[in-house]
Point group: C2
Chain length 115, copies 2
């Protein structure tokens, strides 16, 4: 029973888009280590709270972090499963390349054995 892991193009777009910003990558890093409130995160960067809050929202829409309320705070937690999903996407590209190499190898093989 394999859990469905297929992603729509839009979901993949959101994941890579979310990772294409160094502030957001840093938020992912920090919140993988330890869950952190939005305001604590905001204190770490030279930009407004609203800007950081938006970055967190982008990550949340991509599934890279989750948020849960704790009193008035919103604790942000990195989602390792979504990182693995992104890894699998890249693995698929590597696999495509490897298959090409296999085909080229097979071709050379069959050439050398042509009678």
């Amino acid at each position: 029973m394999v859990v469905d892991t297929e992603l729509t193009d839009d979901e993949v777009d959101r994941i890579f888009r979310a990772l294409a910003d160094s502030t957001r990558r840093d938020i992912v890093r920090r919140t993988l280590v330890q869950e952190t409130s939005v305001s604590t995160l905001a204190g770490a960067y030279d930009m407004s709270f609203a800007a950081v809050s938006k970055h967190v929202a982008v990550l949340e829409r991509a599934g890279l972090v989750t948020k849960h309320a704790s009193g008035r705070e919103r604790l942000v937690r990195g989602n390792p499963e979504s990182i693995r999903r992104a890894q699998r996407l890249l693995d698929a590209y590597e696999q495509i390349w490897r298959e090409r190499i296999s085909r080229l190898d097979a071709l050379l093989e069959s050439d050398s054995t042509t009678d």
Copy 2:
């Protein structure tokens, strides 16, 4: 003698940004399988040659494809090394998470052995 594999934030931005578009991901897929001219690629999508040419340029700036001239054509080839570079980036995030888990495990261990 390890080849320097460090990437600047901007380079990482470009890699993930380039992957955040399904047309570009498809170009990477196709050109990993076989090198392909820009005009052949353009024929595969419902958009102008100029638009596809721009997508290729985005991928090239990110290092995900290389281009070389062959007569009047420009052949585009997927760059497996840059894919691996991106994989390593994601691996680093997974590693961070694993380290957290290790620390939590170690903490539980030390708790249970407190005297």
